[in-house]
Symmetry: C2
Amino acid sequence: MNSFVLDPTLQRDTHFICEMSLSTVLLMDDARFPWLIVVPRVVGARDLIDLDEAHRIVLWREVARASEALRTLCTPHKLNVAALGNVVEQLHVHVIARFRDDAAWPRPVWGTGTAQPYAEAILAGVLGLHRAEFARANAPTPTWPHGGSDSGAG
Amino acid sequence: MNSFVLDPTLQRDTHFICEMSLSTVLLMDDARFPWLIVVPRVVGARDLIDLDEAHRIVLWREVARASEALRTLCTPHKLNVAALGNVVEQLHVHVIARFRDDAAWPRPVWGTGTAQPYAEAILAGVLGLHRAEFARANAPTPTWPHGGSDSGAG
């Protein structure tokens, strides 16, 4: 009981990348922007301040890891990090790599045009690149506790 | 030398509320939304991952404090927390109280209509309420180090 279930809209609009200690990392299915969503597996959390401080510290460490993955993979001009949740209430943090020639610059990405789903032919490759980057980034961390598959909300 | 200077656009578009250990808290001059901006006084920081982890932990604690102040003052339906920085590059975190009948709901606030500056007659009162709330929230914290006026980047 009380087990965490990913919001169905997030499930529908994203592809699974990997699990970290507290959070699940998803790729937004919009090829216009390199766009990760970090979802802490904490039942019932809506706002960041719904998390206790220990969870918050882990979440921000995992958001930083997602940011570093995007920075490594695509060298963006800027990173956008946001917890909005006006439409999908389940707490989730957007981490988006932005470029001065992207489809929304300099505006935020939300509400700009229409999502362009990844072509089937490249999706597996994109997911593979991200998974390899998270695995690489996690490998040398001696304090990584459970091989990345522990649920913080178990 | 190397002393922190607030970005001129942030200076122009906001009113000063208070300083916390690391960050300066500003009120966005847009009466449509209760909207705080938390600016860590770290010279040269653009992205969250430009901060070291110790600074990041303090920043997120201060963002949480700003979120709690807004929750106490105006009981929003949702809080939006975001570090975008596409226009103003100096690292700053938006903390915005959102309501289901506000001028942008459910869209993000950026790029929606035109800012409505606070009327002179109420601005002092609004700033006073926020300052009192931050002072109240800080008062019982025994580990608050310097009475809230220390510059983390001094």
